[in-house]
């Protein structure tokens, strides 16, 4: 059964979802590397939680105008708008007030997520009866995903990946030494916003598969695992993309083998397993290698 899934034998839709999840994972791993190296990993957590009110509002708007409240493009547009607002709030709070970025992240994350949950509750009491499925954006679900949804995810993932590779040089320079990058004439704020914008795009594209609570894991776990294996940023980016891709593809395939297996959590568990392996077994930075070195020194 699992081998069928991994070799795309479970039907066209399941295969499309697995490929889409794989591309999404690759893009997430690559984009996440820039966030991780620039020590901005948690900003993506605020951004992803900030999608929820947008999703709920988009649903309401679409229902009010007599459309299908669950139309994915509309929901993703709403998610992107409120995530963008959340990102600007974090950026503004940390740049223009005396709040640190961590505090700004905490504030934006909880306020937006809380507002989103309230809106979801309101939708439930409205009794339009068709809200079924909005809560799947929390943890992701591929059941009932149609071909067009999978295509949106695959194309979105590929597009973000291409943009991340295009901007890798300035993003790495800003992550390493923003002062020097400024002195070289780079607009550091704009490059950072582009980096966050890519993370936001990953979040929005990945909402359906991984869900907004776990997407941050797909952005951060692959680069953290990849960092154990290499001291070169180009290699870390490639490895993180690979780890994310394998996790996305494998997780989607596994969850397709049985009904009720949640896709997002399985993808994240797979990535976490690779992280645990890297933590233990990586040749120079791994826990085992460090322990062995220590014993050699003592001997």
């Amino acid at each position: 059964m699992l081998s069928d899934a991994l070799t795309l034998q479970l039907g066209y839709n399941a295969a499309l979802v697995a490929v889409g999840a794989g591309l999404l994972g690759m893009a997430a791993g690559a984009v996440g590397t820039f966030l991780f190296l620039g020590k901005r990993a948690l900003v993506s957590d605020a951004v992803s939680h900030a999608t929820l009110p947008g999703i709920a509002l988009a649903f309401m708007v679409m229902v009010v105008f007599g459309g299908d409240g669950r139309a994915l493009p509309g929901l993703l547009l709403g998610a992107a708008l409120s995530a963008g607002l959340g990102l600007l709030c974090v950026s503004w709070l940390s740049a223009r007030t005396r709040l640190g970025e961590d505090a700004a992240i905490g504030a934006v994350l909880s306020v937006f997520f809380g507002a989103g949950v309230v809106l979801l509750t309101v939708i439930q009491t409205l009794g339009s009866g068709r809200q079924a499925g909005l809560e799947t954006f929390l943890l992701g679900a591929t059941a009932g995903m149609v071909r067009a949804d999978a295509l949106v995810i695959a194309i979105g993932g590929a597009l973000v990946l291409a943009l991340a590779l295009l901007l890798r040089r300035p993003m790495l320079m800003v992550a390493f030494d923003p002062g020097y990058a400024t002195a070289q004439g780079m607009n550091v704020r704009r490059i950072e916003l582009a980096m966050m914008g890519l993370a936001m795009a990953i979040t929005v594209v990945g909402l359906k598969i991984v869900g907004l609570i776990l997407i941050v894991a797909l952005l951060i776990v692959p680069p953290v695992a990849a960092r154990f294996w290499s001291d070169r940023s180009g290699v870390v980016i490639a490895l993180a993309g690979g780890i994310g891709g394998i996790s996305g593809y494998g997780g989607a395939a596994i969850s397709a083998t049985a009904p009720g297996l949640p896709t997002g959590p399985i993808i994240v568990l797979l990535a976490t397993a690779i992280f645990a392996l890297s933590l233990l077994a990586a040749p120079r930075r791994g826990v085992l290698a460090i322990a062995l070195r220590r014993r050699k020194v003592q001997a």
């Binding site: 190296l37 295009l166 992550a175 390493f176 030494d177 002195a183 001291d231 290699v235």
Partner: protein, 272 residues
């Protein structure tokens, strides 16, 4: 010279000003504040071309902030910065910056050579491939600071002095006319200090301008031609012999330091 009167009058001592169009770095009325507290207060200073100048002052005097504001890294409350008579933004290609070593994370996954290649960003842009010629340029810069054998090291495995030399090599790769260094000698070994000052002096002999935030008062006269003393405000600017005196130091350090320096007495230049 009526040093005392001028100092107590809160007016900085300055030479006859250099011609603005020649000065690689001319700062006018620069004020920078952190959270409402001024770190740099209406500083005017005109640095001379082709010289080595030290920026000197006590901790918290705003030296690094002045440098960062001069480069557009800190946004000033007010003031202008011109380089060779034009606005800073149009001259960045001619300016190389060496930040404080402590300002970056040295665990970053990158090799010494890759850091130096960052100095070629203006040439490489977004997508141009790194060619052998670029690598040769970067290696030549590493050789100039005596680091050619460590080009492939992850930067976290370098000593503090070696890291500082990598930063200098990155600046050299830019081939700039003005070098701004933030405490290049802080916490480095003697060999590195010698290597760095050798490179800076060779830059000067090529007609380039070097401006460094400097802490060690005992080496000022040996290393630099000119000093700019500040303590939030400008205190004095000029050749070491006239601007680096017991009086100016007394003014810059609020009298906490001058008496502890041997060989300094009122009005006597520290070095001849």
């Amino acid at each position: 010279m009526m040093l005392d009167a001028r100092l107590t009058g809160d007016r900085p001592i300055v030479d006859a000003p250099a011609a603005l169009a020649d000065s690689p770095l001319a700062i006018r009325g620069l004020t920078v504040a952190y959270g409402g507290k001024p770190a740099v207060t209406s500083v005017d200073v005109t640095f001379r071309p082709g010289r080595m100048s030290a920026i000197i002052g006590p901790n918290g005097a705003g030296k690094s902030t002045l440098l960062k504001a001069a480069l557009g890294i800190e946004r000033p409350v007010s003031g202008t910065v011109t380089c060779w008579g034009k606005p800073l933004a149009r001259q960045l290609a001619r300016i190389a910056y060496v930040p404080q070593r402590a300002s970056v994370d040295w665990d970053f996954p990158t090799r010494a050579l890759d850091v130096v290649l960052m100095g070629l960003y203006r040439e490489l842009g977004l997508l141009r491939r790194v060619r052998p010629a670029h690598r040769e340029t970067a290696m030549a810069c590493l050789s100039r600071v005596g680091m050619q054998d460590l080009a492939d090291r992850q930067i976290g495995q370098l000593s503090g002095g070696q890291q500082q030399r990598v930063f200098l090599a990155r600046a050299l790769a830019q081939g700039a006319d003005l070098y701004l260094l933030d405490e290049p000698f802080a916490g480095v070994d003697a060999a590195t200090e010698k290597a760095i000052i050798g490179v800076l002096k060779s830059l000067k002999s090529e007609g380039r301008t070097v401006i460094a935030v400097h802490h060690d008062l005992s080496t000022v006269a040996e290393y630099f031609d000119r000093v700019f003393l500040m303590n939030t405000r400008a205190i004095a600017e000029g050749p070491v012999a006239t601007a680096f005196t017991a009086d100016t130091l007394h003014a810059a350090y609020d009298g906490r330091l001058a008496s502890t320096l041997p060989g300094l007495s009122n009005g006597t230049p520290h070095a001849e």
